[in-house]
């Protein structure tokens, strides 16, 4: 473990923490522009976080300790997830701690805790949100795993850093299986991050909520951590997508100059990605909750076909 490795790990963590709210703000801004509304400031998520951290904490009357420490668990999961994804550099000392499969597990752990906490207080909306989240989650997870396996089959490793190194530094080639995996991954990340075809992030109608319904009872710093964790999750998903499908520009080990260059490249890629996400959200309508299994089933199917195509065409 070199000093540069530790530095790049710290850089990755700080970048994730700082850029995640910015990405959320950027997507919101684009969505408002595309819908002919006047957009909130790009810094709005930071202002919201600041406001929430300074508010008085109110707890629900029947809340158990689980409810109290869930925000920290969720935030920790998302932070660790962002730490092991090669955003700036592939030289990450923490990356042997968890591979792509464990990454999916981390997201699942956060999901289980957030759902338990939602049911803990005993309001009906929390329970409703938790159930829906579980419905979305159990269908999205296998699809995400299949996408990861698709990339692993091409590169021969489940470690995210190795996948990125292999994909970025081999001869440029077109992988049909990655095309299918990319479409599947986009669908999964829309569902997992409570985006429009599945859930509406800024709805005020409790009956249609999924993610928002689960965190209705949270306030002050707990809510701030939940919101920040949601931003980090979106950031982590975007970075996994970039790492798997557009791995160019990520620095290798012992390349301090490339590390400096990696940050603007990452911001550029995220800016484009966020814009595309806002476009997808604007162009599609929220679907009925009972259509979600169909949507995610299609994502799973695409990922599986990607794997099969990879077998058939032999990763040419």
């Amino acid at each position: 473990m070199s000093a540069l490795g530790v530095f790049s790990q710290l850089m990755a963590l700080v970048t994730a923490l700082l850029l995640a709210p910015l990405l959320t703000g950027w997507i919101n801004q684009w969505r408002h522009w595309l819908q002919n509304k006047s957009a909130p400031s790009l810094l709005q998520p930071y202002l919201t976080l600041h406001k929430l951290f300074n508010k008085e904490l109110l707890m629900a009357e029947h809340a158990s300790p689980l409810y109290r420490f869930t925000p920290y668990v969720v935030f920790g999961c998302m932070l660790l997830a962002s730490a092991i994804i090669p955003t700036l550099s592939t030289d990450l000392p923490l990356s042997p701690a968890a591979d792509a499969i464990a990454l999916v597990g981390l997201f699942a752990l956060a999901r289980v805790f957030i759902s338990l906490a939602a049911m803990d207080v005993g309001t009906s909306f929390g329970t409703l949100g938790a159930r829906r989240e579980m419905l979305v989650g159990f269908l999205a997870e296998p699809a995400l795993l299949m996408v990861m396996f698709g990339a692993s089959m091409i590169t021969g490793s489940t470690s995210l850093t190795v996948i990125v190194e292999t994909l970025a530094h081999r001869e440029l080639a077109i992988y049909p299986s990655l095309l299918l995996a990319g479409v599947a991954f986009t669908m999964v990340s829309l569902a997992e991050n409570a985006r429009v075809p599945v859930d509406n992030p800024d709805t005020h109608l409790e009956l249609t909520m999924i993610h928002e319904a689960m965190i209705l009872e949270y306030s002050a710093r707990h809510l701030a951590l939940m919101e920040w964790a949601a931003s980090l999750k979106l950031f982590a998903y975007s970075c996994v997508g970039l790492a798997l499908f557009f791995p160019w520009g990520v620095a290798e080990a012992n390349a301090p100059l490339a590390l400096l260059l990696a940050l603007p490249v990452l911001i550029f890629k995220l800016a484009i990605g966020g814009m595309l996400m806002a476009m997808i959200e604007t162009a599609s309508a929220k679907m009925r909750i009972f259509r979600v299994p169909e949507f995610l089933g299609t994502a799973f199917l695409l990922a599986v076909i990607g794997l099969l195509v990879n077998v058939l065409l032999g990763g040419q």
């Binding site: 077109i174 479409v183 299994p293 089933g297 299609t298 076909i305 058939l312 065409l313």
Partner: protein, 219 residues
């Protein structure tokens, strides 16, 4: 550049497979026709690329015919037909979509395992895509089975023909020109006749549900 062409052909093959699945899951007839049109375009692109890499001029003709017939003429005819029949939203499935999709995966696995030994024998540029073409044929067949209305069935039939043409192109690097012309003419005439059929079915039963055709006599 020519290094990328086989990869591009595989990419288009995957796109054709993807579109087959999209058609299998599509509920609306108008979108179904548009998907069929895109599939035809992908097929034409694959033919052109294969023609470029192998140097067979026949393949350019084949691609041009595909472009003319399956991207322009037949979709236009189908659009006109559904406008006249007034069946724009008329889709009914015998199986629900997730089940259809799962059966579709099984079909793809079957087709791939069937084609793998064959494509190992073939030394054609895009021999590996045979499995995909076979899977497309089976998926279109599946689509014809799961739809009960006449128009989606016709589209399924046409899409199956796309798959067959793609299979022939990938394995043999292009069929003789006369065969190509024959098939193109067959498909065109087929669509015309099926169109007449559809109007007849509609006149007789007041609906395009082909289940009405199962009983031989009016009771």
């Amino acid at each position: 550049m020519s290094h990328f062409v086989p990869q591009l052909i595989n990419l288009f093959a995957t796109l054709i497979l993807l579109l087959s699945f999209a058609m299998l899951a599509q509920r609306r007839i108008v979108s179904l026709i548009n998907l069929f049109m895109i599939q035809g375009a992908a097929l034409a692109a694959a033919s052109f690329l294969l023609g470029y890499v192998t140097g067979h001029p026949d393949l350019y003709v084949s691609g041009g015919l595909t472009l003319l017939l399956k991207v322009v003429l037949i979709p236009w005819m189908l659009h006109r037909m559904i406008r006249k029949l007034n069946v724009r939203w008329d889709v009914e499935m015998l199986l629900n979509i997730p089940t259809t999709m799962l059966v579709g995966i099984a079909l793809v696995i079957f087709a791939f395992s069937l084609a793998l030994p064959i494509s190992r024998l073939s030394d054609a540029v895009a021999g590996g895509a045979l499995g995909i073409a076979l899977a497309c044929v089976m998926l279109s067949f599946m689509m014809m089975i799961t739809r009960s209305k006449a128009v989606p069935q016709v589209i399924g039939f046409l899409s199956m023909e796309n798959g067959l043409l793609f299979a022939a192109t990938t394995v043999t690097n292009g069929m003789p020109m006369i065969v190509e012309f024959g098939i193109a003419l067959d498909v065109l005439v087929g669509v015309l006749i099926l169109g007449v059929f559809m109007f007849q079915i509609r006149e007789k039963f007041d609906s395009l549900d082909i289940r009405h055709l199962e009983s031989l006599k009016d009771d």
